[in-house]
Protein backbone atom coordinates (compact mmCIF):
# COMPACT_ATOMS: atom_id res chain seq x y z
CA UNK A 1 0.00 0.00 0.00
CA UNK A 2 1.52 3.32 -0.96
CA UNK A 3 2.01 5.64 1.95
CA UNK A 4 0.69 8.62 0.02
CA UNK A 5 -2.73 7.03 -0.33
CA UNK A 6 -2.93 6.87 3.44
CA UNK A 7 -2.85 10.55 4.13
CA UNK A 8 -6.07 11.15 6.02
CA UNK A 9 -6.00 14.88 5.41
CA UNK A 10 -6.56 14.31 1.71
CA UNK A 11 -10.24 13.77 2.18
CA UNK A 12 -11.02 15.61 5.32
CA UNK A 13 -10.28 19.24 4.78
CA UNK A 14 -12.32 19.81 1.68
CA UNK A 15 -16.02 20.23 1.34
CA UNK A 16 -18.52 17.44 1.54
CA UNK A 17 -19.37 15.87 -1.80
CA UNK A 18 -23.02 15.37 -1.06
CA UNK A 19 -23.88 18.82 0.15
CA UNK A 20 -20.97 20.95 -1.00
CA UNK A 21 -20.23 22.26 2.47
CA UNK A 22 -17.36 21.78 4.79
CA UNK A 23 -18.40 20.01 7.94
CA UNK A 24 -18.08 20.77 11.58
CA UNK A 25 -20.35 23.77 11.14
CA UNK A 26 -23.35 25.11 13.00
CA UNK A 27 -26.81 23.66 12.74
CA UNK A 28 -25.73 20.41 14.29
CA UNK A 29 -24.82 19.83 17.90
CA UNK A 30 -22.38 17.10 16.94
CA UNK A 31 -23.02 15.43 20.26
CA UNK A 32 -23.68 11.83 21.08
CA UNK A 33 -25.92 11.79 24.14
CA UNK A 34 -26.79 8.66 26.06
CA UNK A 35 -29.46 9.14 28.68
CA UNK A 36 -30.13 6.37 31.17
CA UNK A 37 -29.55 3.65 28.59
CA UNK A 38 -30.41 0.19 29.86
CA UNK A 39 -30.41 -2.94 27.75
CA UNK A 40 -31.16 -6.48 28.83
CA UNK A 41 -30.78 -9.60 26.71
CA UNK A 42 -32.98 -12.07 28.51
CA UNK A 43 -31.77 -12.18 32.10
CA UNK A 44 -28.40 -10.62 31.36
CA UNK A 45 -28.06 -6.88 31.76
CA UNK A 46 -25.68 -5.72 29.03
CA UNK A 47 -25.87 -2.00 29.80
CA UNK A 48 -27.26 -0.42 32.96
CA UNK A 49 -28.41 3.19 33.29
CA UNK A 50 -25.65 4.60 31.11
CA UNK A 51 -25.55 8.38 30.81
CA UNK A 52 -22.80 10.28 29.03
CA UNK A 53 -22.15 12.89 26.38
CA UNK A 54 -19.52 12.67 23.66
CA UNK A 55 -18.31 16.07 22.50
CA UNK A 56 -16.86 17.27 19.21
CA UNK A 57 -13.28 18.26 18.58
CA UNK A 58 -11.51 15.58 20.55
CA UNK A 59 -11.10 11.84 20.30
CA UNK A 60 -13.20 10.25 23.02
CA UNK A 61 -12.16 6.76 23.99
CA UNK A 62 -14.78 4.25 25.02
CA UNK A 63 -12.91 1.91 27.28
CA UNK A 64 -13.91 -1.31 28.94
CA UNK A 65 -12.96 -4.97 29.16
CA UNK A 66 -14.37 -7.35 26.57
CA UNK A 67 -18.03 -7.97 27.25
CA UNK A 68 -18.50 -4.78 29.26
CA UNK A 69 -21.20 -3.44 26.93
CA UNK A 70 -19.28 -1.21 24.50
CA UNK A 71 -20.65 -2.77 21.34
CA UNK A 72 -24.14 -2.92 22.81
CA UNK A 73 -23.98 0.79 23.63
CA UNK A 74 -22.94 1.59 20.07
CA UNK A 75 -25.74 -0.55 18.66
CA UNK A 76 -28.20 1.29 20.91
CA UNK A 77 -26.91 4.65 19.67
CA UNK A 78 -27.45 3.54 16.06
CA UNK A 79 -30.88 2.11 16.83
CA UNK A 80 -29.81 -1.37 15.70
CA UNK A 81 -30.99 -2.60 19.09
CA UNK A 82 -33.73 -0.94 21.12
CA UNK A 83 -32.99 -0.02 24.75
CA UNK A 84 -35.26 -1.33 27.51
CA UNK A 85 -35.20 2.14 28.97
CA UNK A 86 -33.47 5.43 28.37
CA UNK A 87 -32.61 6.86 24.97
CA UNK A 88 -29.70 7.94 22.86
CA UNK A 89 -29.50 10.89 20.49
CA UNK A 90 -27.00 12.02 17.90
CA UNK A 91 -26.97 15.64 16.74
CA UNK A 92 -30.00 16.18 18.94
CA UNK A 93 -32.23 13.52 17.40
CA UNK A 94 -32.68 9.80 17.56
CA UNK A 95 -30.48 8.27 14.88
CA UNK A 96 -33.41 6.81 12.98
CA UNK A 97 -35.15 10.18 12.79
CA UNK A 98 -32.39 11.71 10.69
CA UNK A 99 -33.16 12.12 7.00
CA UNK A 100 -29.58 11.39 5.96
CA UNK A 101 -28.18 9.18 8.72
CA UNK A 102 -24.83 8.44 7.03
CA UNK A 103 -24.34 12.19 6.87
CA UNK A 104 -24.72 12.45 10.65
CA UNK A 105 -22.88 9.40 11.90
CA UNK A 106 -20.36 7.16 10.23
CA UNK A 107 -20.10 3.94 12.15
CA UNK A 108 -17.68 1.05 12.05
CA UNK A 109 -19.57 -1.82 13.60
CA UNK A 110 -18.19 -4.76 15.45
CA UNK A 111 -16.86 -7.77 13.58
CA UNK A 112 -17.83 -8.02 9.93
CA UNK A 113 -20.92 -6.24 8.74
CA UNK A 114 -20.33 -7.02 5.09
CA UNK A 115 -21.82 -9.60 2.74
CA UNK A 116 -18.95 -12.01 2.08
CA UNK A 117 -19.99 -12.58 -1.53
CA UNK A 118 -19.87 -8.94 -2.60
CA UNK A 119 -16.84 -6.96 -3.72
CA UNK A 120 -15.55 -4.06 -1.67
CA UNK A 121 -16.54 -1.63 -4.41
CA UNK A 122 -20.10 -2.92 -4.72
CA UNK A 123 -20.51 -3.05 -0.95
CA UNK A 124 -19.62 0.61 -0.63
CA UNK A 125 -21.62 1.52 -3.74
CA UNK A 126 -24.77 -0.11 -2.36
CA UNK A 127 -24.42 1.83 0.90
CA UNK A 128 -23.61 5.06 -0.94
CA UNK A 129 -26.63 4.77 -3.23
CA UNK A 130 -29.07 4.87 -0.30
CA UNK A 131 -27.98 8.50 0.16
CA UNK A 132 -27.40 9.35 -3.48
CA UNK A 133 -23.64 9.46 -2.93
CA UNK A 134 -21.77 9.10 -6.22
CA UNK A 135 -19.38 6.48 -7.54
CA UNK A 136 -16.46 8.90 -7.52
CA UNK A 137 -16.69 9.21 -3.74
CA UNK A 138 -16.70 5.42 -3.46
CA UNK A 139 -13.58 5.08 -5.63
CA UNK A 140 -11.86 7.87 -3.74
CA UNK A 141 -12.44 6.22 -0.38
CA UNK A 142 -11.30 2.82 -1.64
CA UNK A 143 -8.03 4.41 -2.74
CA UNK A 144 -7.73 6.33 0.50
CA UNK A 145 -7.99 3.25 2.70
CA UNK A 146 -5.56 1.40 0.47
CA UNK A 147 -7.92 -1.19 -1.02
CA UNK A 148 -7.54 0.01 -4.62
CA UNK A 149 -5.95 -3.19 -5.86
CA UNK A 150 -8.52 -5.50 -4.27
CA UNK A 151 -11.65 -3.40 -4.83
CA UNK A 152 -13.21 -6.02 -7.10
CA UNK A 153 -12.33 -8.98 -4.89
CA UNK A 154 -15.05 -10.53 -2.77
CA UNK A 155 -15.01 -9.23 0.80
CA UNK A 156 -15.12 -12.80 2.10
CA UNK A 157 -11.54 -13.23 0.92
CA UNK A 158 -10.32 -10.22 2.87
CA UNK A 159 -8.04 -10.44 5.88
CA UNK A 160 -9.27 -8.96 9.15
CA UNK A 161 -7.19 -5.86 8.52
CA UNK A 162 -8.57 -5.38 5.01
CA UNK A 163 -12.07 -5.83 6.40
CA UNK A 164 -11.38 -3.06 8.92
CA UNK A 165 -10.19 -0.74 6.16
CA UNK A 166 -13.34 -1.47 4.19
CA UNK A 167 -15.39 -0.69 7.29
CA UNK A 168 -13.55 2.58 7.80
CA UNK A 169 -14.19 3.54 4.17
CA UNK A 170 -17.91 2.90 4.75
CA UNK A 171 -17.73 5.10 7.84
CA UNK A 172 -16.55 8.09 5.84
CA UNK A 173 -18.95 7.69 2.88
CA UNK A 174 -21.39 10.35 4.01
CA UNK A 175 -18.73 12.77 5.30
CA UNK A 176 -20.31 12.51 8.75
CA UNK A 177 -20.16 15.01 11.61
CA UNK A 178 -19.82 12.14 14.04
CA UNK A 179 -17.59 9.12 13.65
CA UNK A 180 -18.13 6.09 15.85
CA UNK A 181 -15.78 3.14 15.59
CA UNK A 182 -15.88 -0.14 17.45
CA UNK A 183 -12.36 -1.54 17.98
CA UNK A 184 -11.00 -0.05 14.74
CA UNK A 185 -7.40 -1.20 15.15
CA UNK A 186 -8.31 -4.88 15.58
CA UNK A 187 -6.38 -6.91 13.08
CA UNK A 188 -4.46 -4.00 11.61
CA UNK A 189 -0.72 -4.11 11.05
CA UNK A 190 1.46 -1.46 12.76
CA UNK A 191 1.30 0.78 9.71
CA UNK A 192 -2.48 0.47 9.67
CA UNK A 193 -2.72 1.23 13.40
CA UNK A 194 -0.63 4.35 12.93
CA UNK A 195 -2.87 5.38 10.05
CA UNK A 196 -6.04 4.92 12.12
CA UNK A 197 -4.56 7.02 14.95
CA UNK A 198 -3.74 9.84 12.56
CA UNK A 199 -7.12 9.53 10.89
CA UNK A 200 -8.98 9.79 14.19
CA UNK A 201 -6.93 12.78 15.33
CA UNK A 202 -7.41 14.42 11.94
CA UNK A 203 -11.18 13.92 12.11
CA UNK A 204 -11.31 15.38 15.62
CA UNK A 205 -9.11 18.32 14.65
CA UNK A 206 -11.66 19.03 11.91
CA UNK A 207 -14.23 19.61 14.64
CA UNK A 208 -15.92 16.26 14.24
CA UNK A 209 -17.01 14.08 17.11
CA UNK A 210 -14.88 10.95 17.32
CA UNK A 211 -16.02 8.11 19.54
CA UNK A 212 -13.82 5.07 19.47
CA UNK A 213 -14.04 1.92 21.55
CA UNK A 214 -11.20 -0.28 22.65
CA UNK A 215 -10.32 -2.79 25.33
CA UNK A 216 -6.67 -1.75 24.97
CA UNK A 217 -5.76 1.01 27.45
CA UNK A 218 -2.41 1.61 25.80
CA UNK A 219 -4.11 2.34 22.49
CA UNK A 220 -6.48 4.79 24.13
CA UNK A 221 -3.60 6.52 25.92
CA UNK A 222 -2.12 7.30 22.53
CA UNK A 223 -5.28 8.47 20.75
CA UNK A 224 -7.94 9.59 23.20
CA UNK A 225 -7.99 12.90 25.05
CA UNK A 226 -11.16 12.03 26.86
CA UNK A 227 -12.28 8.70 28.23
CA UNK A 228 -15.60 7.11 28.96
CA UNK A 229 -14.93 3.94 30.92
CA UNK A 230 -17.46 1.21 31.51
CA UNK A 231 -17.33 -2.08 33.33
CA UNK A 232 -20.12 -4.65 33.50
CA UNK A 233 -22.35 -2.29 31.57
CA UNK A 234 -22.05 0.57 34.05
CA UNK A 235 -20.31 3.89 33.80
CA UNK A 236 -17.08 3.95 35.80
CA UNK A 237 -15.45 7.14 34.66
CA UNK A 238 -16.10 10.00 32.27
CA UNK A 239 -13.08 12.28 32.32
CA UNK A 240 -9.95 13.61 30.71
CA UNK A 241 -7.44 10.85 30.02
CA UNK A 242 -4.73 12.54 32.12
CA UNK A 243 -7.15 13.06 35.02
CA UNK A 244 -8.20 9.45 34.73
CA UNK A 245 -4.64 8.28 35.23
CA UNK A 246 -4.05 10.79 38.03
CA UNK A 247 -7.22 9.89 39.88
CA UNK A 248 -6.54 6.22 39.73
CA UNK A 249 -2.85 6.57 40.47
CA UNK A 250 -1.95 4.85 43.71
CA UNK A 251 0.74 7.45 44.51
CA UNK A 252 3.18 4.91 45.92
CA UNK A 253 6.87 5.63 46.43
CA UNK A 254 9.51 3.05 45.69
CA UNK A 255 12.42 3.14 48.11
CA UNK A 256 15.67 1.17 47.90
CA UNK A 257 17.80 1.22 51.01
CA UNK A 258 20.35 -1.06 52.75
CA UNK A 259 18.55 -0.07 55.99
CA UNK A 260 15.08 -0.85 54.74
CA UNK A 261 13.99 -2.54 57.95
CA UNK A 262 14.89 0.50 60.05
CA UNK A 263 13.17 2.89 57.66
CA UNK A 264 10.12 0.74 57.83
CA UNK A 265 9.93 1.01 61.65
CA UNK A 266 10.58 4.73 61.50
CA UNK A 267 7.73 5.65 59.18
CA UNK A 268 5.20 3.17 60.50
CA UNK A 269 1.83 4.79 61.10
CA UNK A 270 -1.86 4.24 60.72
CA UNK A 271 -2.07 6.01 57.34
CA UNK A 272 1.04 4.41 55.95
CA UNK A 273 1.26 1.02 54.33
CA UNK A 274 4.51 -0.56 53.35
CA UNK A 275 4.99 -3.44 50.98
CA UNK A 276 8.18 -5.47 50.61
CA UNK A 277 8.84 -5.70 46.90
CA UNK A 278 12.16 -7.54 47.21
CA UNK A 279 14.90 -7.55 49.86
CA UNK A 280 15.91 -3.92 50.46
CA UNK A 281 13.10 -2.47 48.33
CA UNK A 282 9.89 -1.03 49.81
CA UNK A 283 6.81 0.38 48.19
CA UNK A 284 5.34 2.97 50.53
CA UNK A 285 1.83 4.33 50.23
CA UNK A 286 0.56 7.24 52.34
CA UNK A 287 3.67 9.42 52.34
CA UNK A 288 5.17 11.64 49.67
CA UNK A 289 8.70 11.14 48.38
CA UNK A 290 9.66 14.38 50.14
CA UNK A 291 8.40 13.17 53.51
CA UNK A 292 10.21 9.86 53.18
CA UNK A 293 13.44 11.53 52.04
CA UNK A 294 13.40 13.99 54.92
CA UNK A 295 12.64 11.27 57.46
CA UNK A 296 15.52 9.22 56.12
CA UNK A 297 17.95 12.18 56.20
CA UNK A 298 16.95 13.10 59.77
CA UNK A 299 17.74 9.56 60.88
CA UNK A 300 20.85 9.13 58.73
CA UNK A 301 19.38 6.33 56.67
CA UNK A 302 21.04 5.76 53.33
CA UNK A 303 18.70 5.75 50.32
CA UNK A 304 19.76 4.27 46.98
CA UNK A 305 16.48 5.02 45.29
CA UNK A 306 13.43 7.18 45.96
CA UNK A 307 10.95 7.03 43.08
CA UNK A 308 7.31 8.19 42.98
CA UNK A 309 5.33 5.53 41.10
CA UNK A 310 2.97 6.71 38.37
CA UNK A 311 0.27 4.24 37.51
CA UNK A 312 0.05 3.31 33.87
CA UNK A 313 -3.25 3.61 32.10
CA UNK A 314 -3.66 -0.15 32.33
CA UNK A 315 -3.15 -0.09 36.07
CA UNK A 316 -5.49 2.85 36.49
CA UNK A 317 -8.08 1.03 34.48
CA UNK A 318 -7.66 -2.22 36.41
CA UNK A 319 -7.93 -0.35 39.68
CA UNK A 320 -11.10 1.46 38.69
CA UNK A 321 -12.87 -1.58 37.30
CA UNK A 322 -11.78 -3.46 40.41
CA UNK A 323 -13.39 -0.77 42.56
CA UNK A 324 -16.60 -1.02 40.60
CA UNK A 325 -16.75 -4.74 41.09
CA UNK A 326 -16.03 -4.44 44.81
CA UNK A 327 -18.55 -1.66 45.21
CA UNK A 328 -21.19 -3.81 43.58
CA UNK A 329 -20.40 -6.75 45.78
CA UNK A 330 -20.07 -4.71 48.98
CA UNK A 331 -23.20 -2.60 48.66
CA UNK A 332 -26.31 -4.74 48.56
CA UNK A 333 -29.62 -2.90 48.14
CA UNK A 334 -30.99 -1.48 51.39
CA UNK A 335 -33.33 -3.85 53.19
CA UNK A 336 -36.96 -2.73 52.85
CA UNK A 337 -37.32 -2.07 56.60
CA UNK A 338 -34.50 0.46 56.66
CA UNK A 339 -35.34 2.04 53.32
CA UNK A 340 -39.00 2.44 54.16
CA UNK A 341 -38.63 3.58 57.77
CA UNK A 342 -39.27 7.26 58.46
CA UNK A 343 -36.16 9.12 59.61
Amino acid sequence: MPQSAWDPNQLLIRACLTCGRAHGESGRTRLIEANGLTKRYGEKVAVRDLTFTVRPGVVTGFLGPNGSGKSTTMRLILGLDAPNSGHATVNGKRYRDHLAPLHEVGALLEARSVHTGRSAYNHLLALAQTHGIGRSRVRELIEMVGLGEVATKRAGQFSLGMGQRLGIAATLLGDPAIVMLDEPVNGLDPEGIQWVRNLLKGLAAEGRTVFVSSHLMSEMALTAEHLIVIGRGELIADMNTADFVRRASKKAVRVRSPQAARLRELIAGSDVSVADIEPGVLEITGLTAEQIGEAAAANAIVLHELTPQQATLEEAFMELTQDAVEFQAGAPPLPPATAGAPA
Binding site: E25, R75, L99, A100, H115, T116, N122, L127, G132
Partner: protein, 277 residues
Protein backbone atom coordinates in the same frame (compact mmCIF):
# COMPACT_ATOMS: atom_id res chain seq x y z
CA UNK B 1 -12.38 25.06 7.40
CA UNK B 2 -11.81 27.60 4.69
CA UNK B 3 -13.38 31.04 4.83
CA UNK B 4 -15.44 30.31 1.79
CA UNK B 5 -17.07 27.34 3.42
CA UNK B 6 -17.84 29.11 6.66
CA UNK B 7 -19.46 31.92 4.67
CA UNK B 8 -21.48 29.38 2.75
CA UNK B 9 -22.42 27.80 6.04
CA UNK B 10 -23.62 30.95 7.70
CA UNK B 11 -25.74 31.83 4.70
CA UNK B 12 -27.17 28.33 4.72
CA UNK B 13 -27.64 27.47 8.38
CA UNK B 14 -30.23 24.86 7.51
CA UNK B 15 -28.91 23.53 4.25
CA UNK B 16 -31.31 21.23 2.46
CA UNK B 17 -30.51 17.61 3.24
CA UNK B 18 -29.38 16.82 -0.29
CA UNK B 19 -28.20 13.33 0.49
CA UNK B 20 -31.28 12.14 2.28
CA UNK B 21 -32.57 8.60 2.07
CA UNK B 22 -35.46 8.09 -0.32
CA UNK B 23 -37.36 4.98 -1.31
CA UNK B 24 -36.02 5.29 -4.87
CA UNK B 25 -32.43 5.48 -3.63
CA UNK B 26 -32.89 2.48 -1.40
CA UNK B 27 -34.35 0.59 -4.38
CA UNK B 28 -31.29 1.49 -6.44
CA UNK B 29 -29.06 0.27 -3.65
CA UNK B 30 -30.97 -3.01 -3.49
CA UNK B 31 -30.61 -3.46 -7.24
CA UNK B 32 -26.86 -3.04 -6.85
CA UNK B 33 -26.87 -5.61 -4.07
CA UNK B 34 -28.91 -8.06 -6.13
CA UNK B 35 -26.76 -7.92 -9.24
CA UNK B 36 -23.43 -7.85 -7.41
CA UNK B 37 -23.79 -11.31 -5.90
CA UNK B 38 -22.65 -14.32 -7.85
CA UNK B 39 -25.27 -16.50 -6.15
CA UNK B 40 -28.11 -14.28 -7.39
CA UNK B 41 -26.86 -14.29 -10.96
CA UNK B 42 -26.52 -18.06 -10.91
CA UNK B 43 -29.92 -18.65 -9.39
CA UNK B 44 -31.59 -16.45 -12.00
CA UNK B 45 -29.67 -18.17 -14.79
CA UNK B 46 -30.70 -21.58 -13.44
CA UNK B 47 -34.32 -20.44 -13.32
CA UNK B 48 -34.11 -19.36 -16.93
CA UNK B 49 -32.51 -22.63 -18.02
CA UNK B 50 -34.94 -24.76 -16.02
CA UNK B 51 -37.98 -22.98 -17.35
CA UNK B 52 -36.92 -23.11 -20.98
CA UNK B 53 -34.90 -26.33 -20.98
CA UNK B 54 -37.35 -28.62 -19.20
CA UNK B 55 -40.28 -27.31 -21.23
CA UNK B 56 -38.49 -27.92 -24.54
CA UNK B 57 -37.32 -31.32 -23.36
CA UNK B 58 -40.86 -32.34 -22.37
CA UNK B 59 -42.31 -31.13 -25.66
CA UNK B 60 -39.62 -32.96 -27.63
CA UNK B 61 -40.32 -36.21 -25.79
CA UNK B 62 -44.05 -35.96 -26.42
CA UNK B 63 -43.60 -35.04 -30.08
CA UNK B 64 -41.26 -37.97 -30.60
CA UNK B 65 -43.37 -40.51 -28.67
CA UNK B 66 -46.80 -39.32 -29.81
CA UNK B 67 -47.34 -41.99 -32.54
CA UNK B 68 -46.64 -44.70 -29.95
CA UNK B 69 -48.77 -43.33 -27.11
CA UNK B 70 -51.92 -45.07 -25.95
CA UNK B 71 -55.36 -43.55 -25.77
CA UNK B 72 -55.12 -42.76 -22.06
CA UNK B 73 -51.85 -40.86 -22.48
CA UNK B 74 -53.30 -38.97 -25.43
CA UNK B 75 -56.41 -38.06 -23.47
CA UNK B 76 -54.41 -36.70 -20.58
CA UNK B 77 -52.00 -34.79 -22.78
CA UNK B 78 -52.06 -31.03 -22.10
CA UNK B 79 -49.87 -29.09 -24.54
CA UNK B 80 -49.83 -25.92 -22.40
CA UNK B 81 -48.87 -27.69 -19.19
CA UNK B 82 -46.17 -29.73 -20.91
CA UNK B 83 -44.50 -26.67 -22.40
CA UNK B 84 -44.57 -24.98 -18.96
CA UNK B 85 -43.24 -28.07 -17.14
CA UNK B 86 -40.08 -26.22 -16.08
CA UNK B 87 -42.06 -23.67 -14.11
CA UNK B 88 -42.66 -26.31 -11.43
CA UNK B 89 -38.95 -26.39 -10.69
CA UNK B 90 -38.37 -22.70 -11.33
CA UNK B 91 -40.77 -21.86 -8.52
CA UNK B 92 -38.38 -23.55 -6.12
CA UNK B 93 -35.26 -21.75 -7.34
CA UNK B 94 -37.06 -18.39 -7.31
CA UNK B 95 -38.58 -19.01 -3.89
CA UNK B 96 -35.22 -20.03 -2.44
CA UNK B 97 -33.55 -17.00 -4.02
CA UNK B 98 -36.23 -14.85 -2.39
CA UNK B 99 -35.28 -16.30 1.00
CA UNK B 100 -31.58 -15.74 0.29
CA UNK B 101 -32.02 -12.10 -0.72
CA UNK B 102 -32.70 -11.23 2.90
CA UNK B 103 -31.37 -14.17 4.96
CA UNK B 104 -27.95 -13.68 3.36
CA UNK B 105 -27.77 -10.25 4.96
CA UNK B 106 -28.51 -11.68 8.38
CA UNK B 107 -26.06 -14.58 8.17
CA UNK B 108 -23.19 -12.36 6.99
CA UNK B 109 -23.90 -9.39 9.29
CA UNK B 110 -24.51 -7.12 6.28
CA UNK B 111 -27.91 -6.27 7.77
CA UNK B 112 -26.18 -4.05 10.36
CA UNK B 113 -24.59 -1.97 7.61
CA UNK B 114 -27.89 -1.89 5.76
CA UNK B 115 -29.88 -0.71 8.77
CA UNK B 116 -27.19 1.77 9.78
CA UNK B 117 -27.64 3.37 6.35
CA UNK B 118 -31.45 3.08 6.40
CA UNK B 119 -32.40 3.06 10.09
CA UNK B 120 -36.13 3.32 9.35
CA UNK B 121 -35.71 -0.23 7.99
CA UNK B 122 -39.05 -0.60 6.18
CA UNK B 123 -37.81 1.10 2.99
CA UNK B 124 -35.28 -1.74 2.78
CA UNK B 125 -38.00 -4.39 2.88
CA UNK B 126 -40.15 -2.63 0.29
CA UNK B 127 -37.14 -2.05 -1.94
CA UNK B 128 -35.99 -5.64 -1.70
CA UNK B 129 -39.47 -6.94 -2.51
CA UNK B 130 -40.04 -4.48 -5.35
CA UNK B 131 -36.64 -4.91 -6.96
CA UNK B 132 -36.66 -8.68 -6.65
CA UNK B 133 -40.19 -8.89 -8.05
CA UNK B 134 -39.23 -6.69 -11.02
CA UNK B 135 -36.09 -8.70 -11.75
CA UNK B 136 -37.95 -12.00 -11.44
CA UNK B 137 -40.66 -10.80 -13.80
CA UNK B 138 -38.05 -9.51 -16.24
CA UNK B 139 -36.40 -12.95 -16.30
CA UNK B 140 -39.45 -15.20 -16.14
CA UNK B 141 -41.76 -13.46 -18.61
CA UNK B 142 -39.41 -13.87 -21.59
CA UNK B 143 -38.63 -17.39 -20.38
CA UNK B 144 -42.25 -18.58 -20.37
CA UNK B 145 -43.03 -16.85 -23.67
CA UNK B 146 -39.98 -18.41 -25.33
CA UNK B 147 -40.68 -21.88 -24.00
CA UNK B 148 -44.35 -21.67 -24.90
CA UNK B 149 -43.76 -20.73 -28.54
CA UNK B 150 -40.75 -22.99 -29.05
CA UNK B 151 -42.53 -25.85 -27.28
CA UNK B 152 -45.71 -25.47 -29.31
CA UNK B 153 -43.75 -25.33 -32.53
CA UNK B 154 -42.10 -28.64 -31.57
CA UNK B 155 -45.51 -30.15 -30.77
CA UNK B 156 -46.92 -28.84 -34.05
CA UNK B 157 -44.97 -31.54 -35.88
CA UNK B 158 -47.64 -33.91 -34.52
CA UNK B 159 -50.42 -31.29 -34.77
CA UNK B 160 -50.97 -31.47 -31.02
CA UNK B 161 -50.05 -27.88 -30.23
CA UNK B 162 -52.29 -25.25 -28.65
CA UNK B 163 -52.57 -21.69 -29.97
CA UNK B 164 -51.72 -18.61 -27.91
CA UNK B 165 -55.12 -17.25 -28.96
CA UNK B 166 -56.92 -20.27 -27.50
CA UNK B 167 -59.13 -19.13 -24.57
CA UNK B 168 -57.16 -18.85 -21.34
CA UNK B 169 -53.77 -19.66 -22.87
CA UNK B 170 -52.41 -16.10 -22.88
CA UNK B 171 -53.57 -15.69 -19.29
CA UNK B 172 -51.91 -18.95 -18.27
CA UNK B 173 -48.58 -18.24 -19.99
CA UNK B 174 -48.26 -14.71 -18.64
CA UNK B 175 -49.76 -16.02 -15.40
CA UNK B 176 -46.84 -18.44 -15.04
CA UNK B 177 -44.47 -15.46 -14.97
CA UNK B 178 -46.68 -13.63 -12.47
CA UNK B 179 -46.81 -16.80 -10.37
CA UNK B 180 -43.00 -16.98 -10.23
CA UNK B 181 -42.79 -13.29 -9.38
CA UNK B 182 -45.14 -13.57 -6.43
CA UNK B 183 -43.41 -16.79 -5.35
CA UNK B 184 -40.18 -14.80 -5.10
CA UNK B 185 -41.86 -12.20 -2.89
CA UNK B 186 -43.41 -14.95 -0.75
CA UNK B 187 -39.94 -16.48 -0.24
CA UNK B 188 -38.52 -13.08 0.61
CA UNK B 189 -41.20 -12.50 3.23
CA UNK B 190 -40.49 -15.90 4.78
CA UNK B 191 -36.76 -15.20 4.71
CA UNK B 192 -37.31 -11.89 6.51
CA UNK B 193 -39.43 -13.58 9.17
CA UNK B 194 -37.11 -16.54 9.76
CA UNK B 195 -33.79 -14.67 9.18
CA UNK B 196 -31.84 -17.91 8.62
CA UNK B 197 -31.14 -19.34 5.18
CA UNK B 198 -31.70 -23.01 6.01
CA UNK B 199 -34.72 -22.32 8.20
CA UNK B 200 -36.27 -20.09 5.56
CA UNK B 201 -35.81 -22.64 2.78
CA UNK B 202 -37.22 -25.45 4.92
CA UNK B 203 -40.25 -23.32 5.80
CA UNK B 204 -40.89 -22.48 2.16
CA UNK B 205 -40.52 -26.07 0.99
CA UNK B 206 -42.75 -27.28 3.82
CA UNK B 207 -45.51 -24.86 2.87
CA UNK B 208 -45.34 -25.65 -0.84
CA UNK B 209 -44.55 -29.35 -0.96
CA UNK B 210 -45.18 -30.92 2.45
CA UNK B 211 -48.50 -29.35 3.40
CA UNK B 212 -50.47 -30.75 0.38
CA UNK B 213 -49.64 -34.46 0.97
CA UNK B 214 -50.37 -34.06 4.68
CA UNK B 215 -53.72 -32.57 3.78
CA UNK B 216 -54.31 -35.56 1.50
CA UNK B 217 -54.27 -37.81 4.55
CA UNK B 218 -57.33 -36.10 6.01
CA UNK B 219 -60.87 -37.24 5.16
CA UNK B 220 -61.63 -36.12 1.61
CA UNK B 221 -64.48 -33.83 2.69
CA UNK B 222 -61.96 -31.91 4.78
CA UNK B 223 -59.13 -31.93 2.29
CA UNK B 224 -61.45 -30.92 -0.55
CA UNK B 225 -62.69 -28.00 1.52
CA UNK B 226 -59.24 -26.84 2.61
CA UNK B 227 -57.16 -27.65 -0.47
CA UNK B 228 -58.23 -24.71 -2.66
CA UNK B 229 -56.94 -22.30 -0.05
CA UNK B 230 -53.46 -23.76 0.35
CA UNK B 231 -50.76 -21.44 -1.03
CA UNK B 232 -49.61 -24.09 -3.51
CA UNK B 233 -53.10 -24.77 -4.86
CA UNK B 234 -54.07 -21.13 -4.97
CA UNK B 235 -50.84 -20.35 -6.81
CA UNK B 236 -51.28 -23.03 -9.49
CA UNK B 237 -54.69 -22.16 -10.90
CA UNK B 238 -53.53 -19.05 -12.74
CA UNK B 239 -51.25 -20.93 -15.09
CA UNK B 240 -53.50 -23.80 -16.06
CA UNK B 241 -56.48 -23.90 -18.43
CA UNK B 242 -57.85 -27.27 -17.35
CA UNK B 243 -58.82 -26.68 -13.73
CA UNK B 244 -58.99 -29.69 -11.45
CA UNK B 245 -61.83 -30.31 -9.04
CA UNK B 246 -61.85 -28.38 -5.78
CA UNK B 247 -59.87 -25.37 -6.92
CA UNK B 248 -60.55 -21.66 -7.04
CA UNK B 249 -61.03 -19.72 -10.27
CA UNK B 250 -57.72 -18.53 -11.79
CA UNK B 251 -57.81 -14.95 -10.65
CA UNK B 252 -59.37 -15.69 -7.27
CA UNK B 253 -56.64 -18.22 -6.63
CA UNK B 254 -53.95 -15.84 -7.73
CA UNK B 255 -55.41 -13.07 -5.57
CA UNK B 256 -55.29 -15.42 -2.59
CA UNK B 257 -51.67 -16.34 -3.35
CA UNK B 258 -50.84 -12.61 -3.56
CA UNK B 259 -52.56 -12.32 -0.19
CA UNK B 260 -50.26 -14.96 1.26
CA UNK B 261 -47.22 -13.15 -0.09
CA UNK B 262 -48.54 -9.82 1.23
CA UNK B 263 -49.20 -11.40 4.62
CA UNK B 264 -45.66 -12.78 4.81
CA UNK B 265 -44.33 -9.31 3.97
CA UNK B 266 -46.62 -7.66 6.52
CA UNK B 267 -45.51 -9.99 9.30
CA UNK B 268 -41.91 -9.45 8.23
CA UNK B 269 -42.45 -5.67 8.36
CA UNK B 270 -43.81 -5.76 11.89
CA UNK B 271 -40.95 -7.97 13.08
CA UNK B 272 -38.34 -5.98 11.18
CA UNK B 273 -39.20 -2.78 13.03
CA UNK B 274 -39.48 -4.40 16.43
CA UNK B 275 -36.59 -6.82 16.52
CA UNK B 276 -33.01 -6.11 17.48
CA UNK B 277 -30.45 -6.63 14.76
Amino acid sequence: MSEASSTATSSLPHAPPVGRVTQARVARSELTKLRSLRSTRWALLVTLILTIGIGILACTVFAARWPHLGLSDRQHFRPLRVSLAGVNLAQLSIGVLGVLVISGEYTTGMIRSTFAAVPKRLPVLWAKAGVFAAVTLAVSLPAVLIVFFVGQSILSSQHIQIAFSHPGVARAVIGAALFLTVMGVFGLGIGAIVRHTAGGIVTLVAILFVLPPILGLLPSSWSNAINPYLPSSAADVLWTITPEAHTLSPWAGFALFCGYAAASLAIAAVLLVRRDT
